[in-house]
């Protein structure tokens, strides 16, 4: 991705998603909702890629961060009745940011104590964290507990989903493609050498977790206002795995690949609807075949080493 034009890309993508949203009523609502899912999954996968792919910290807790953002945003917007377009936009934007911030705080809380751990140990701890979040929501009667929470407003539209997807791509790309951002990759490549080069590995890991969690939270908020119904079960371990699969399929630390993987893996189940029971089998087979044939990821193109 050409970083020099990153800002233009960001503005262009946001403008484009706004334009498309103006014509959204022309699109069949079935495909429209799938497009929201695509946007949400891009946010989830690209933000997880910062943690898993670039920084090399294998996290299985992304659905947990997503849940925090989803519930926070939903609880906020549920306080409001019907609003006009402008007011609803402002409230929704605020709610999404609040959801992101809440998730970022959760990311900080998980990040700091667990960063001494590596590899599989970290994976287990983040997995446990995701489950804890889920169980907390399940037992929190004020947000419906296991019965779930209705979200009054279906405010998620093409603009919000893809505006934030563009934002996520921009932030992750801009962070990594800078001298500062090489630190993330240094931590992944060799932690000991990184700290000998004056890189505070803890600082970088926490940053990756906080930024990643923030966008997972935003994605959660979008998800809540697209489905309009939240159950804790929707944020279980399988959801985290689904995001990890997108990252691995796209190629760890390869943003474009991860975006394509997120799109494909959102569309795949739709095309597989006639054979829905086999969806998970095909999913798993795909992963096995991929890991055997292209361990570097399906879309790992040439790697531009600098810039």
């Amino acid at each position: 991705m050409n970083v020099r034009h990153a800002k233009f890309f960001l503005l262009g993508a946001i403008a484009l998603s706004f334009l498309v949203s103006l014509f959204a009523n022309q699109i069949k609502s079935y495909w429209l909702f799938i497009s929201y899912d695509i946007g949400i999954n891009i946010i989830l996968a690209v933000s997880l890629n910062l943690i898993n792919g670039y920084t090399g910290q294998f996290s299985l807790g992304h659905a947990g961060f997503m849940a925090v953002g989803a519930y926070t945003a939903a609880v906020i917007t549920n306080q409001f009745g019907e609003l006009n377009t402008f007011a609803s936009g402002a409230v929704f934007f605020g709610a999404l940011l609040a959801g992101g911030l809440a998730a970022a705080i959760a990311g900080l809380l998980v990040g700091i104590p667990t960063l001494r751990l590596r590899g599989d140990y970290l994976a287990i701890v983040t997995l446990g964290f995701g489950e804890i979040i889920r169980v907390i929501f399940q037992n929190m009667q004020s947000v419906g507990g296991a019965r779930g929470l209705s979200v009054m407003h279906g405010w998620t539209n093409f603009f919000w989903a893809f505006g934030f997807a563009a934002m996520t791509v921009y932030v992750v790309t801009a962070l990594v493609h800078s001298t500062y951002g090489r630190g993330f990759i240094a931590v992944r490549d060799d932690e000991v050498a990184a700290s000998a080069m004056g890189i505070s590995t803890t600082r970088y890991k926490v940053t990756a977790f906080v930024v990643g969690a923030f966008f997972a939270g935003v994605a959660g908020g979008l998800y809540a206002h697209s489905k309009q119904f939240l159950t804790p079960g929707g944020f279980n371990f399988m959801q985290s795995i689904a995001i990890v699969v997108m990252v691995i399929l796209g190629g760890m630390g390869n943003t474009i690949g991860v975006i394509i993987a997120a799109i494909l893996l959102t569309l795949l189940p739709e095309f597989l609807r006639p054979v829905a029971e086999y969806r998970m089998i095909i999913y798993s087979l795909l992963l096995i075949i991929l890991m055997l044939t292209r361990p570097q990821g399906l879309f790992s193109l040439r790697k531009s080493p600098s810039k």
């Binding site: 990153a6 001298t179 990759i185 240094a186 060799d190 000991v192 080069m197 004056g198 080493p305 600098s306």
Partner: protein
């Protein structure tokens, strides 16, 4: 004037094993000191104590007049101690340029906000670092490899790159951990020339932990000898060579 690096009766024990015992060592400004000893003498442990990987059980270490107790490795690098590794540890997935760039970042603290905003300050900063890195790479004839992946360099070039990367942190003291390991005679000669060159060009002190007598005797101004974690001798190369204790430690009695 006090020494740049000062180890004062530094001791470290792992359980019942005293790996380094009451080690006194001083390195002055612009000095090339060698630390030698047979296998298992505690050279690398001493190295790890200086770079903050281990904390001493007893005694003190000070660098540039500052006690370094409880400093983490990355903080010590900031103070001016840079190191290389016995088994080369480059950032394998990055280019040669990026390897050095990562280290050069240290003294240009531009963080998240700058990277996201990408304004003028960011671009100027990036250019400044890039120029600095290229200058360093050119000095060590690595400029032509700038876009090559670090792991695809030849062994000798990897060693050189690791030293360049350490220099990019602008150290006052450079620690080299067995840089001659795995080198043949002509590469060793080249290495000796390189170390001498670095010391003069960058006006820094060098502590060389080395196995290879030819290299150590050839360039060090002063040599300290460790055996079983105890310093058994210290002096000029000629004195060390004639020291009966050293001969005994190396050849046995």
């Amino acid at each position: 004037m006090s020494a740049l690096l000062q180890l004062d009766k530094t001791t470290i024990r792992f359980g019942g094993l005293t790996a380094v015992s009451e080690l006194d060592l001083q390195i002055g400004a612009h000095e090339l000191v060698g630390l030698i000893g047979p296998n298992g003498a505690g050279k690398t442990t001493a190295f790890n104590l200086i770079t903050g990987v281990y904390q001493p059980t007893a005694g003190a270490i000070s660098f540039d007049g500052q006690l370094t107790a409880n400093c983490k490795p990355h903080q010590l690098t900031k103070l001016g101690i840079a190191r290389t590794f016995q088994n080369i540890r480059l950032f394998d997935s990055m280019s040669v340029f990026d390897n050095v760039r990562t280290a050069a970042r240290l003294h240009c603290p531009r963080g998240v906000r700058n990277a996201l905003w990408r304004g003028r300050a960011f671009r100027d900063g990036e250019k400044e670092i890039a120029d600095e890195v290229m200058e360093l790479l050119e000095i060590f004839q690595l400029g032509k490899f700038r876009n090559t992946l670090a792991k695809s360099l030849s062994y000798g070039d990897q060693r050189r790159l690791e030293i360049v990367r350490a220099l990019a942190t602008k150290p006052k003291l450079l620690l080299l951990d067995e840089p001659a390991a795995g080198m043949n005679a002509s590469e060793k000669t080249e290495l000796m020339r390189l170390i001498q060159f670095i010391k003069d060009k960058f006006q820094i002190s060098v502590l060389l932990v080395e196995h290879d007598m030819q290299v150590v005797m050839g360039i060090c101004e002063r040599i300290a000898v460790l055996d079983y974690g105890v310093k058994i001798a210290e002096g000029k190369p000629a004195e060390i060579r004639a020291n009966p204790k050293v001969i005994e430690a190396y050849l046995g009695d």
